[in-house]
């Protein structure tokens, strides 16, 4: 490492004690104030954005960091299946921005970004502010392609919830499950790849089965899947048989799982040209997905559905100065998960700090860890380590993989303990 340059040294000394109060990026007119280390604006306060804001300050305490997030309370998608299963409450998956602001010095603006001007390096908010940035991090999660299947629109999501963004949607689906009579059928339509949280549909089926087993044991769960295989498949299917008998039926695309139409009025999913008709008492349609709306509107996905980035830094290959992290980005072998978003946020934060200092990025190393509950005492996991190789974040050979198939109950239970520990740890790392 080089030592500080004479210029930086003099600058630092010159600013002296005032540096710490030099202050925040956003004057009342929305103009960024001058700052030694630049002003980074982060769009979206989910797992990616909140981590990025916190770690920019951790790595570079004098950086001015503004996080723009529309909600005061953020509900994590991970853990929301536990709420559906009655194993957790909404409060258990609620996160706030108090610590980012008071402990870490992030300026948190409760507003939503309506447009980004990559040339002028400004964002506009619904509240009417224009905010300048030196570097922008865009972490808007996902949006839904309701045009992919005829018969259903976004307006139907109260009757047929997706519950793939946690919050009100989680509550709606939980209430429907509670109101469903014993002997009813819960039908979930799972999206094709890629989508947010690859094991999510199967953990959801597990948690709903956990609830049904106690409250309405004659009920059925049908997963209509737009693919032929899924994450941790062998472990899920073995766990379902062990705990739930034949309550859960998984239907791959080749056997009628590829839904072609939804009849909203009759809560029915239709496939194979009408040959297969699945009537539900509760229908959970999880649409195919795209990068978050603001990323799409800004052209960060180009002609596609997801945003290409330089995977060494997560800087957009379309708009320089904008970094796209989390579900919206194309990140090599990394799955679209909160853990991935958290790790990518750290890579982007470090890259921005080094870039603003005129330094090359360091080689990124990331990991993903994902626990799924089959029952509250039986969890399985998948893990991977990723390194930058040949232009992409690739899984390190020989590492990672799923929990052993032949593990005893004690290991499943230990992983269930760590599932909760993972939630507590990562949410502290992001919002704490």
């Amino acid at each position: 490492m080089t030592n500080f340059s004479r210029r930086n040294f003099l600058k630092a000394v010159g600013i002296g004690g005032a540096a710490t109060v030099a202050g925040f990026g956003c004057a009342p007119n929305g103009r960024a104030t001058a700052s030694r280390n630049g002003h980074v604006v982060v769009v979206g306060g989910g797992s990616g954005g909140a981590t990025a804001a916190k770690y920019l300050k951790r790595f570079s305490p004098d950086m001015d960091v503004t996080l723009i997030e529309p909600t005061a309370t953020y509900y994590t998608c991970y853990g929301s299946n536990w709420v559906l299963g009655g194993h957790a409450q909404m409060d258990d998956i609620a996160q706030t921005y108090d610590a980012l602001q008071s402990r870490h010095g992030v300026k948190v603006v409760q507003d939503s970004v309506t447009s980004i001007d990559p040339a002028r390096r400004t964002v506009r908010t619904a509240g009417g502010d224009t905010i300048n940035y030196d570097r922008l991090i865009v972490s808007p999660g996902i949006d839904f392609r309701y045009d992919a299947v005829p018969g259903i629109t976004a307006a139907d999501s109260e009757r047929i919830p997706h519950a793939w963004k946690a919050g009100e949607q989680t509550v709606i689906l939980r209430r429907q499950l509670e109101a469903m009579p014993d002997g009813g059928v819960f039908v979930m339509v799972a999206p094709g790849n890629p989508f947010r949280c690859p094991p999510g549909p199967y953990e959801r089926a597990s948690m709903v089965a956990h609830y049904f087993k106690q409250a309405k044991p004659r009920s059925k769960i049908i997963i209509l899947d737009n693919k032929e295989n899924f994450s941790k498949q062998g472990l899920f299917i073995a766990g379902w048989e062990q705990h739930y008998g034949d309550m859960i039926e998984w239907v791959p695309s080749s056997r009628g799982g590829q839904v072609e139409e939804i009849d909203v009025a009759n809560l029915t999913a239709i496939s194979d040209g009408g040959f297969n008709v699945f009537k539900a008492d509760v229908l959970n349609y999880v649409p195919p997905q795209t990068a978050g709306k603001i990323a799409m509107d800004t052209g960060l996905a180009g002609d596609g559905f997801w945003c290409p980035v330089n995977q060494m830094t997560f800087e957009s290959t379309i708009h320089p100065g904008i970094y796209v992290i989390g579900d919206s980005s194309v990140a090599g072998a990394m799955p679209k998960s909160g853990h991935s978003a958290n790790n990518q946020a750290k890579v982007a934060a470090a890259a921005i700090i080094r870039d603003l200092a005129g330094l090359e990025p360091v080689a990124p190393s990331t990991a993903n860890t994902c626990y799924s509950l089959i029952t509250p005492d039986h969890a399985i996991s998948v893990a991977a380590v990723y390194a930058y190789q040949d232009g992409t974040m690739a899984g390190v050979e020989g590492a990672g993989g799923v929990s052993p198939a032949d593990a005893p109950a004690s290991v499943r239970q230990m992983e269930a303990v760590y599932t909760k520990g993972w939630y507590d740890g990562i949410t502290a790392d992001i919002w704490g």
């Binding site: 750290k346 190393s365 990672g400």
Partner: protein, 101 residues
């Protein structure tokens, strides 16, 4: 600033301390970035039930990561993760965990 404790006293301390911040900012290192990945589970606020590794003895961290990597210590998920890191990276982690407070 943490670094000031290791530096000479007097005016140099305050000057160096001031200079340290942009310097720390400028060279977010490979070890720092690499180890920050671990914080997702091993919270540096000691939240959750994963072992707290803040200030963990360097040599112990290195020996345990190597033991997870070669299978001589059996964990639930750590064997799968430890196999993803080179010896050099494990040393960087050991250095960094030992340093933070």
């Amino acid at each position: 600033m943490k670094c000031s404790r290791t530096l000479a006293a007097g005016i140099a301390v305050s000057m160096m301390a001031l200079a340290y911040v942009p310097q720390a900012a400028a060279d977010t290192t490979r070890g720092e970035l690499l180890t920050s990945s671990c914080f997702a589970c091993h919270s540096i606020d000691a939240t959750g039930n994963m072992p707290n590794l803040v200030g963990y003895p360097r040599d112990l961290l290195i020996s345990q990561m190597k033991a997870f990597k070669d299978g001589s210590r059996v964990g639930t998920i750590m064997n799968r993760l430890a196999r993803g890191y080179t010896e050099e990276e494990i040393v960087l982690m050991g250095d960094y965990f030992a340093k933070i407070q």
